[in-house]
Amino acid sequence: MIPLGHYLVVSAILFAIGTAGVFLRRNLITILLSIEIMLNAVNLSFVAFGRSHGTVDGQIITFFVMTVAAAEAAVGLGIVIALFRHRESLNPDAFTSLKW
């Protein structure tokens, strides 16, 4: 069987990739996709921890994370559409009106 640490390493790598995507990419859609990668990394570690403790709680938390991800995608994409209508751009640097 695979040790718990291996799953956690995969999860950490995926989370790091997602974080790097949020910081490096300058396309609102790709940034939202990077957030999905991070949520999935967390899901993987939840399921792995749940399995190693021998309970189903990890799986159930994963369902809640998926629900929140669906809500976040719906609202986030709604915001992206509204922003695109204003500026005709998906570059986050185009939306600096609130910046001091």
């Binding site: 040790p3 396309n27 790709t30 999935n40 899901n43 399921v47 749940g50 190693s52 998926m66 559409i81």
Partner: protein, 176 residues
């Protein structure tokens, strides 16, 4: 032994596809690659004796959320990122910021490796628990609707709020 090989194969697919998601300039390819990454992750869930989560991953993530992303990309006819402009104007290109960020990243990597190596020598994942109990949808549902019933109901309100919010945000403003 085949377990271990499959674990490494699917982990490699998940990590590689996620890296390519970040590397693409065309959001359409990013979405397709992310679906591949989710498929590999659902295989990992099956290895972790969580078949229901694996199916939910395919149906909810790959089937619903990613299709929503695809719709938005096609709707907006999204422009691709401009590489030359990225090179000139990205905040991380400033040397002071870049150096500070690299230092923090190195520190965090050292911490993570140290913490994860301490976990690695623990026992194998499948050591505890009854497999038949863990894989059955019945036991998952029983815990979900008893111990977590409040969170479940709160989630329904969250979905309602998100739905209303998405409709309000995406609706075209009326001309007066």
């Amino acid at each position: 032994m085949p377990d271990t090989v499959l674990f490494y194969v699917f982990s490699a697919v998940a990590v590689g596809a996620s890296l390519l998601v970040i590397g693409q300039r065309n959001p359409m390819y990013s979405i397709m690659l992310l679906i591949a990454s989710f498929g590999a992750l659902s295989a990992l869930y099956i290895q972790l004796d969580a078949p229901f989560v694996a199916m939910a991953q395919i149906i909810v993530y790959a089937g619903a959320i990613m299709v929503l992303f695809l719709f938005v990309v096609m709707l907006l006819n999204a422009p691709q990122e401009d590489a030359a402009q990225w090179d000139r104007t990205h905040p991380l290109r400033r040397s002071g910021v870049g150096r500070f960020g690299a230092m923090l990243a190195a520190l965090l990597t050292v911490q993570l490796v140290w913490a994860l190596l301490r976990v690695s020598d623990a026992s194998a994942v499948g050591a505890r628990g009854d497999v038949a109990e863990l894989t059955s949808v019945r036991s998952v549902g029983r815990v979900l609707f008893t111990d977590y019933v409040f969170a479940f109901e709160a989630t329904s309100i969250l979905i309602l709020v998100a739905m209303v919010g998405a409709v309000v945000l995406a609706a075209r403003e009326e001309k007066r």
